[in-house]
Point group: C2
Chain length 221, copies 2
């Protein structure tokens, strides 16, 4: 196996995820080729950033003057982002948000099968959500082992988030998506991504206050 | 009014939003003072980054050796992020995700009152969600004007997102939170923030593939 060390910053990774979504939509619309200019314009980036980011991918996906092959680029991004195989996920927290995520259709498109929903509230355990029973979080260990659960999704209130993260790690998950507003600490070498829905709202508020339309640096006076 | 031009990059703004959430949680736990070290450790940052970011705020919030006054820092962040007054928001898209967001409790804490839920599906219009009736998107214009709606939240499938963005701008919203996976283009000078729930999943997948625990630059081989 050829080894070529490529250094990718988290900002590049974040842009690669956006390119993939864009390729998936482009592919659905039947487009076969797409230019770095088109991608750049849709994302508010420069085309040289787009070209540089995509040059990090191990497979070449572009042809001069034609642009990028949409299917090939989508496949290369899928590969580098590690979503070529479907992962099993569980959600802990069966409140409104947890239930909605459990029913959300778009996860499977991104290689995530949400297999079960857990809570510790006796008033919720046993209730049916979209054909599945809300399970007792006490069953988490056995369930995760038996079903090869890869990812744990935290959808509990902030004050319970770290405890749930620890429970998920103990149950053997290999990655955590934290949807609570509390930054949980990774334990046992398990990667954590903090979802930013609430932060996005604050970010929008800031942009509205200073009427900031593009993502450029700007002056607060 | 004193004018002091401070340049703040989008990355600083993103961190300021995280500090605010952290202060709110700290405040709930009764903490009065917090050090840049504590903040840095919880967020995987260096304390000099934290100090530099907070030094952008117009109000001084720290005392040497004591750290930052939690309440004062939260107030300064609330002010700079523009959430000191409650904004009225509407959601367009009454699918599972839109309904869940409508019922989500945490928005109001961040100054966002979700006033109404719209859809264009006759099978959904009129159905009650948490005490409110799903409204016809055809009523959006009149509703927004009458109720002083500030923010439009897009929770429709990707292919309908740009059209809904245009409808929201036409109805007079001053900011858009886009929860679809399609990057919508800002029109008429209205700021847009793209939510990254799906991107977060891809990001986690990438981190799991390369076993990346912290946010540092790393090598793909």
């Amino acid at each position: 196996m050829q080894k070529s060390a490529i250094r990718i910053s988290p900002f590049v990774v974040e842009r690669l995820t956006r390119y993939l979504i864009f390729m998936q939509l482009g592919g659905q619309r039947g487009k076969e080729w797409i230019s770095s200019d088109t991608i750049a314009k849709a994302m508010g980036l420069t085309s040289s950033t787009v070209r540089q980011d995509i040059s990090h991918l191990p497979t070449p996906c572009g042809i001069s003057k034609k642009g990028y092959d949409v299917k090939r680029l989508a496949a290369a991004l899928t590969d580098v982002l590690g979503i070529e195989t479907v992962k099993q996920a569980v959600i802990v927290g069966a409140g409104n948000f947890g239930k909605a995520l459990f029913l959300h259709e778009e996860f499977l498109e991104q290689g995530l099968r949400i297999a079960a929903l857990f809570d510790n509230d006796p008033g919720l355990i046993g209730i049916m959500v979209g054909g599945a029973r809300i399970r007792d979080v006490a069953e988490l260990d056995g369930y995760a082992e038996k079903n090869g659960v890869d990812i744990g999704i935290i959808a509990v209130p902030a004050e319970a988030a770290q405890h749930v993260a620890d429970q998920l790690v103990a149950a053997g998950v290999k990655g955590i998506l934290n949807l609570s507003t509390c930054d949980v600490r990774p334990t046992g070498g398990v990667p954590v991504v903090h979802s930013r829905l609430i932060l996005d709202i604050l970010n929008l508020s800031f942009k509205m206050k200073y009427n900031q339309v593009n993502g450029k640096t700007f002056a607060v006076t």
